[in-house]
Amino acid sequence: MSLTLKDRTTRSMPEPAGSRQRHPADRLFQAAVHAAAWLPIAILGATVVFLLVQAWPALTHYGPFSSLGSIGWAPSRAITESTSPNPYGLLQFIYGSVLTALIAMAIAVPASIAVALYLTDVAPRVIRRPLAHLVDLLAAIPSVVYGFWAIFALAPTLRPLGEMLGRTLGAVPALGAVFAGPFYGYSYLTAGIVLAIMVLPIITAICREVFATTPVPRKEAALALGATRWEMLRMAVLPPARAGIIGACTLGLGRAVGETIAVTMVIGNNVTGINPSLLAPGATMPSVLANELTEATQPFHLESLFVVALWLLALALAVNVAGRLLVRRGHREPR
């Protein structure tokens, strides 16, 4: 292992003249970097193994995929001897996680791209830098503060709006189910909006970097051909940035799926089922973990929470892999 590595390095980079024997500090550095590179992989692997071991009793007792086939989380109905139906159904948590993340992306992606375009190409030069710093600052606010803000400011502000949506759109035949009231401020929608604000700085920061790499001659060429500023952005800046935007969205989506405290504070924590209305209270995979981990005393309760954690990890990995594939496709496509 170390030999091949040495071969490769000597081939790619000639050693400094006069020192045939490499310096011990150099070797040490290389070993340290090497170990550091493997560390994340080892941690991920260890996490998966740990979650599997902890979840194993529940997985074998109820069957490995039974939690995905049932709706409703009812620890109080769990009985040691009974194996079916699985009282620890988690479809409603997956639904909640995916739905809140989608709401967040639907709001945050267009907003972030607009903010990033403004910061790189539209805003007056003097305010670009301070404004960019301000947007970055949003990412530094702890999520519990966002949750606090959401409870005391966002939810009360949303209430009249939600009630109006429930009254108007809620009465429309097919669409009605999605906006059915009543609305109390604690809902999928509220959680999604908080998430949108939380992922906005992440997506904006990356998009900004990507847009900034557009060669100036390219933009000038577009303008020279008579394009308006908007046409220039649409033709010269956005298309080559597609892979970058998708990458930014993937990172944002990962954050949205995993966010715990802020969501737990405003989603209402209804664990019993799936409600099709955006205005209804629900729960996500991280929120049930945060709520119940400390006091999981029912049969297979703690083990089932580890099952939730396992599927949460799987979902996060799936989001990441899907994002990566999309980025690669974005790169390959002709411009």
Partner: protein
């Protein structure tokens, strides 16, 4: 934290104005009519106080469990450390975890709001556990209803129907007939309950199960009480403070909270009809009445809802401290006995100001006598007297 929350509420009221946050009326006692709440409900002169302060106590004790008595334990620990030197570190992590950690030996002392089940006792592997009542805790229906102050009247079946989602509006005839003088608004009831497993939930649902056929029929016999139930409706918050936060935000909300939290947050709370048919304000004195006539000989119920005493507040629970009867370390055993003997005498006086009920003389004497059963590797810790 609480102060911050109040500040934030005030801030939102100032900033948002009409955005739905309403300043909360403080619970005024006049709304409850004539009640016995002036006193503490205890008779400390009848308490047993025979235990001397034993020498050789460990300087530190670790304890964990019920969040319901968290505020009480922190006052006890603070006062006790000042007077006797032994520091007690209490983590309010929940009753179930308190039981588990005591059995595992991680902490010397656990606290739980529910009597231990035979299943939990079995996990101790044959070692005997003492479960000692130390205080009474009241669970109260608290609400947020613009224009309505403290003292709203409930009975078990109406509360059961509300929390089961069968009574959905504040102007429901059942609620109106219990509160004849009040103009209840035509508003949806928003049920708020706990998101985590909790002793507070166990006391409340045990009370509903004993008094509300509607509650039992909706949840199903055998599934209607416990630290967690399958709630048919409502929002859920984590911990007493999570529920209190939701109550403060949502006009029309009703939830159940431990009395100490309600008093601390100045939320309006109601009175509850007991077995004698009277509407009772929750307070240390009325909780004490619920515990009248109860002794340690029989297994105690999770809630003292079936008390037929006058002025007994029915949603009263008992908090127990757990410890192994036979300790492995003499200094720890001595520290435990000293601390418990202090809690069961001097400590009881500190309970009423916080909204907890002191033990009745009978319960105190039964519990105190148990301290003489604590041993260290088989040898008694206290001189038998």
């Amino acid at each position: 934290m609480k102060a911050v929350a109040r500040l934030a509420v005030a801030g939102v009221v100032l900033l948002a104005g009409c955005a739905g946050a309403v300043p909360l009326p403080d619970g005024d006692t006049a709304a409850f009519g004539t009640q016995i709440c002036g006193g503490t409900g205890a008779d400390p002169s009848a308490y047993l106080r025979t235990m001397p302060v034993l020498p050789g106590a460990a300087p530190r004790l670790s304890a964990a469990g019920s969040s319901l008595i968290g505020p009480m334990m922190s006052v006890w620990a603070q006062q006790y450390a000042g007077q006797h030197g032994t520091r007690v570190a209490y983590q309010p992590i929940g009753s179930g975890s308190g039981i588990a950690q005591t059995i595992a030996g991680t902490v010397a002392l656990g606290a739980t709001d529910t009597p231990m089940t035979s299943l939990e006792r079995a996990k101790a592997g044959g070692r005997r556990l003492l479960a000692l009542p130390v205080t009474l805790g009241g669970v109260v229906p608290a609400y947020h209803l613009a224009g309505i102050g403290a003292g709203l009247r409930f009975d078990a079946d109406v509360l059961g129907a509300v929390f089961a989602g069968r009574i959905r509006r504040w102007d429901d005839p059942a609620l109106r007939s219990l509160n004849p003088g009040l103009r209840l608004p035509a508003r949806d009831i928003v049920v708020v309950h706990r998101a985590d497993a909790s002793g507070t939930t166990a006391v409340f649902t045990d009370y509903l199960t004993r008094g509300s056929p509607t509650w039992v029929s909706v949840l199903g016999a055998g599934n209607s009480s416990g630290k967690q139930v399958v709630w048919p409706t409502g929002l859920a918050g984590k911990g007493n403070d999570g529920v209190a936060g939701m109550l403060a935000q949502v006009d029309g909300a009703v939830g159940y909270l431990e009395l100490a939290y309600v008093l601390g947050q100045h939320l309006p709370y109601g009175q509850v009809r007991n077995r004698t048919g009277d509407f009772i304000q929750p307070c240390p004195a009325t909780m004490g009445r619920a515990a009248q006539g109860i002794d340690l000989a029989a297994d105690l119920p999770t809630s003292l809802a079936d008390s037929t005493e006058r002025d007994a507040y029915p949603i009263t629970g008992v908090t127990y401290l757990l410890l192994y009867a036979d300790q492995h370390d003499r200094a720890t055993a001595v520290a435990l006995v000293n601390f418990l003997a202090w809690m069961l005498t001097t400590g009881q006086d500190l309970a009423p100001p916080l909204g907890y009920g002191p033990l009745t003389a009978r319960l105190q004497r039964d519990t105190y006598a148990q301290l003489y059963q604590v041993t260290a590797d088989g040898a008694p810790v206290a001189p038998t007297g």
